[in-house]
């Protein structure tokens, strides 16, 4: 086989493209007149207008590398008439709105399975995250009636809140958060003080109208004049009803600060979740810890790569050099794929990538061992190289396919953490096959054509005795 100029050109183009993408942050800095070091402004974006191509190019770091909070929420107690996936989608939309309105732009809210929601908040600690998501889930409106609470009510509500007024018990008005279509912070035009406006759907509007008409008949100061809003078990608002409220919207006033009005509006909105949301799992990683992990992993990667290159050079000599160059091209291509397709790099993912370096070397080792054998058998360099690649191929193919099968199983059935590992390992294996079969082979063919490269000692083989 001869050197294939077209294949060689393809390797060159891919390598240059890969290096361009790997170094794109610097290109972007120069293009936008930013200094080459220090924090970068904006997101590096490559756009080629006449091809309609626009792609953000940067390393998407997982929360474990970046620091932040990862939450897995579960929806339970879905109200009748709503399917669990519908409830999940409504909840995703509500949580998304809430997270975005809190100004966390790079956050992720997405459904997972039938009844789960994953929320990722970079740079946010767990306490902040809980506040953003609200501790709330189910909102109900109650009225106070003379009597004492029965055991069932005390079970359903916080006993301290349910027994707030001696001689009075809370009675459910049948109005709950599902009837609230929207709640927002507003300002009282007369006093200029913050208050909260809520809008009801038609059913809620009718119930609320009847409820308030009945309540205003009681004098102010009497618990029976009050409207009690419970969220989950807790009393969050116990307001006087001044007039009957019909027409679908109500205003809650009374001693709010801007922040507390905002907080109540968020809680009321969350009350319209069509089910109860519980925290199934949470992970929080400190920002410095993430950065340290990245540094250590990169250091390990660089260290590992150097040892591998050193080993290849010492053991396989000239082909080792070829393999090392192929390996560097391999690393550049894999990194470029991660950046270009927005693969999220997690700790497990980095480990998968570093492991795939080892597997990339394996393909080369297989070829070189075969090459040595063929040379010892007395073949010419060109023929030995061709036979080496040819005979190593079934082993490379079968072993890599079995690794890809494992990646496939991990990706489709594994937990999110495992998925990241599977993706980077699969990309690594795929690129390593290209690296071994195309890159290494072409480079070897070039060597075979160079006179000084024909000394067998360069391949770690003694010249065979003349037969």
């Amino acid at each position: 086989m001869r050197v294939d100029r077209r294949l060689l050109a393809l390797i060159g183009v891919i390598a240059v493209l890969a290096l361009f993408i790997d170094g794109f942050a610097y290109v972007y800095r120069v293009a936008t007149n930013q200094p080459l070091t220090g924090p970068i402004r904006g997101v590096p974006t490559l756009s080629i207008p006449f091809l309609g191509f626009e792609q953000q190019i940067f390393v998407h770091k997982g929360l474990d590398l970046q620091g932040g909070t990862h939450l897995e929420l579960e929806i339970t107690k879905v109200r009748s008439g709503t399917s669990i996936t519908e409830a999940r989608d409504v909840a995703v939309a509500i949580i998304e709105r809430r997270v975005n309105s809190s100004g966390y732009a790079e956050s992720v809210v997405r459904p997972e399975g039938a009844n789960r929601i994953i929320v990722e908040l970079p740079g946010v600690d767990l306490e902040q995250a809980k506040q953003i998501l609200g501790k709330t889930s189910y909102l109900t409106i109650w009225k106070w009636e003379p009597g004492t609470s029965d055991a069932a009510t005390l079970q359903e509500l916080n006993p301290k809140d349910a027994q707030k007024y001696p001689g009075y018990k809370p009675v459910f008005t049948q109005i709950d958060g599902s009837m609230i279509t929207n709640a927002s912070r507003s300002t009282d035009p007369n006093t200029n003080l913050p208050d909260v406006t809520i809008s009801f759907n038609s059913k809620g509007s009718d119930l609320f109208c009847a409820f308030t008409r009945d309540r205003v008949t009681h004098p102010q100061g009497d618990p029976q004049n009050k409207l009690a809003i419970f969220i989950d078990k807790d009393l969050v608002e116990d307001a006087n009803v001044i007039s009957e409220i019909c027409g679908g919207s109500a205003i809650i006033t009374g001693g709010f600060t801007a922040a507390s009005a905002q907080a109540l509006a968020i809680q009321l909105n969350s009350g319209s979740l069509p089910g109860t949301i519980t925290l199934a799992s949470a992970t929080e990683v400190g920002a410095t810890l993430g950065a340290t992990t990245v540094k250590l992993s990169l250091l390990a990667g660089a260290f590992g790569l150097s040892i591998v290159i050193l080993f290849m050079l010492l053991y396989y000599r000239l082909p080792g050099l070829v393999a090392s160059i192929a390996l560097l091209i391999y690393a550049a291509i894999a990194l470029a794929i991660f950046k270009l397709f927005g693969v999220t790099l997690t700790l497990a993912g980095l480990a998968g990538f570093i492991l795939s370096i080892g597997m990339a070397v394996d393909a080369n080792v297989l070829i070189f061992e075969r090459l040595k054998e063929e040379l010892r058998a007395g073949r010419t360099l060109g023929a030995a190289m061709e036979a080496g690649v040819h005979r190593a191929w079934p082993a490379i193919r079968d072993s890599n396919i079995s690794t890809l099968i494992t990646c496939f199983v991990l990706y489709f059935f594994g937990a999110p953490l495992i998925k990241g590992f599977a993706i980077t390992l699969a990309i690594g294996v795929g690129v390593s096959m290209f690296s071994a079969i195309v890159t290494t082979q072409q480079f070897l063919q070039i060597l075979a054509g160079l006179r000084p490269a024909r000394r067998l000692a360069l391949y770690g083989v003694q010249a065979p005795k003349a037969a």
């Binding site: 620091g67 897995e72 579960e74 600690d125 767990l126 306490e127 809980k130 501790k135 519980t278 925290l279 199934a280 799992s281 949470a282 992970t283 929080e284 990683v285 400190g286 920002a287 410095t288 810890l289 340290t292 992990t293 250590l296 992993s297 390990a300 990667g301 260290f303 590992g304 080993f311 700790l347 497990a348 480990a351 570093i354 492991l355 370096i357 080892g358 597997m359 070397v361 394996d362 080792v365 297989l366 061992e369 054998e373 005979r391 079934p394 082993a395 079968d398 072993s399 890599n400 079995s402 690794t403 099968i405 494992t406 496939f408 199983v409 991990l410 059935f413 594994g414 937990a415 953490l417």
Partner: protein
């Protein structure tokens, strides 16, 4: 070198490593991480050295079945039963008040019981599905005897790894020996690598069998092992170099992961040379078709 001829010694060595692990798994079980057991885990870093015992004493006052272990001079690992959200907040505030906590280097994880149950089912299932698919693929490429021998070698590695983990976690009570999602990832990688290694040798056997020769099946297998020995050792050495580098400098949260990969890869290399191919010979003797 006659590897196949001394196969019984190599099988014996494998057993000697696996048996204590199986005994430990059967009687002591595993040290389950919160991914599997459910619960809360704090990985706390401090700005000054802090003794685990001091943190343990503080945690005991909350009565949450806390286990505190030292992780480096200025860090501890705290594991508790699943905490309610409010309780978690209280404990954290208390720890921040009593110890020189560095929040930016700390991490925290909570796993609820439902997720934990799913993971246990999921992890076992993954190993089974991956094994079945690999058997199918190898049956097509080689034949079913090769496929089953490869999977037996794979199970060998899974048992070596899980057995050592059981001993590490339960006998030595080391946080390294914790079964968590990362461990499952490591185990699955080892499966991939083990098969990878075995296939390379099988490929050689397949090739040598195709060439007419006067060698017996047993001699042929032995020759194939010797022929691919340099490659097996070289590849494993390069991967082991990378892993040792990773292990030495990895932070506590992934040390267990890299150690599991390291053990698994060593075991995978051993099993493909000394178990998988000799098994073919044993099978051939029992069933000489």
């Amino acid at each position: 070198m006659n590897i196949v001829g001394r196969r019984n010694w190599y099988f014996l060595l494998s057993l000697a490593i696996i048996l204590p692990g199986i005994v430990s798994m059967a009687f002591l079980g595993f040290r389950l991480g919160i991914d599997f057991a459910g619960g809360d885990q704090y990985n706390l870093a401090f700005t000054q050295p802090v003794q685990a015992s001091a943190v343990q004493k503080e945690m005991d006052t909350f009565n949450v079945e806390a286990i505190v272990q030292q992780a480096g001079p200025d860090g501890v690992l705290v594991t508790t039963k699943p905490l309610a959200s409010a309780q978690e907040t209280t404990i954290r505030a208390d720890l921040a008040k009593k110890f020189p906590l560095d929040p930016s280097r700390s991490s925290y994880a909570q796993v609820g019981p439902t997720i934990a149950r799913e993971l246990v089912v999921g992890a076992g299932g993954l190993v089974v599905i991956a094994s079945i698919l690999i058997v199918i693929y190898l049956s097509i490429r080689f034949n079913y005897k090769f496929a089953i021998a490869a999977v037996l070698a794979l199970l060998h590695d899974v048992f070596v790894l899980t057995g050592i983990w059981s001993i590490l976690g339960k006998v030595f009570n080391s946080p390294l020996g914790e079964i968590n999602t990362l461990f499952v990832t490591a185990a699955l990688t080892v499966i991939g690598f083990s098969v990878h290694d075995t296939i390379v040798i099988f490929d050689r056997i397949r090739e040598n069998l195709r060439q007419a020769s006067r060698l017996t099946f047993e001699q042929n297998v032995n020759l194939s092992i010797i022929q691919s020995l340099a490659r097996s050792l070289n590849t494993s050495m390069t991967v082991i170099f990378v892993l040792v580098a990773l292990f030495l400098i990895s932070p506590t949260n992934i040390k267990g992961f890299t150690l599991a990969l390291l053990i698994g890869i060593v075991s995978g290399t051993y099993s493909s040379i000394f178990n998988a191919s000799p098994l073919l010979v044993v099978w051939r003797r029992l069933d000489p078709r």
